[in-house]
Symmetry: C2
Subunit: 132 residues, 2 copies
């Protein structure tokens, strides 16, 4: 069973997930299924300006800097965050489309909505990182 539209997938309770779609989503979910990475993602996403410096993130944990760096790499490899070096420091920010994909997966099935999946459309005006 393949997903009708080109989008990622319907909510989890609407139709059985395709095998490859499940594998793709599992990669993203595995990246988030860790207390440290969850908090990292939350700190980055909720930080003023929509981005956070690694130096800010490291101090919130009882972990060494290389460990934090490793977790950030996992999140980046999964396509959930993006990093950029500006001078001495490196700043990370969330990729809203990736998070929205997960949100759509677990969206409640309150009403049996019509045909297509109502994609939540990455808005997030504050973090202006959508290429229009």
């Amino acid at each position: 069973m393949t997903v009708p539209t080109g989008q990622c997938c319907a909510p989890i309770a609407r139709e059985p997930l395709a095998e490859d779609t499940a594998a793709e989503l599992a990669v993203m979910l595995k990246a988030v299924a860790d207390p440290v990475r969850l908090r990292l993602l939350s700190m980055i996403g909720s930080h003023a300006g929509g981005e956070a410096c690694v130096c800010d993130l490291t101090d919130a944990f009882d972990l060494t800097a290389p460990t934090i760096s490793h977790h950030l790499k996992v999140l980046r490899t999964a396509g959930l965050i993006d990093g950029e070096r500006r001078g001495t420091w490196v700043y990370y920010r969330i990729i809203p489309e990736a998070v929205n994909k997960l949100g759509a997966l677990f969206a409640p099935l309150t009403e049996p909505s019509p045909g297509p999946v109502p994609q939540p459309v990455a808005g997030r005006s504050e973090l202006g990182l959508l290429p229009a």
Copy 2:
């Protein structure tokens, strides 16, 4: 066990997740962060009547029955599904509150946080743990 059915947290990008909240959510996410379990959850949730027999689920995978049973137990332990034996067969169904909790976590931030202050430079802002 666990999973006391209640609102758990704000969307991931609104405020930093508390340490224990992140740990609790990671347990649930880890249960879902597997291709087999994702498909199992999707099959159960999208099955007619809202519940599915183990016998139906097993045939869709190239895995042995004990392995499927193990994955179902992980999902049940995480509070995502519930099982009931009726005669010879065992039927599983989704616990909507648990799935909704994940949906709320990754819900898009339509209304931006009221605190602008995009000034991340020069001396890290506290950022630490949120007060409960």
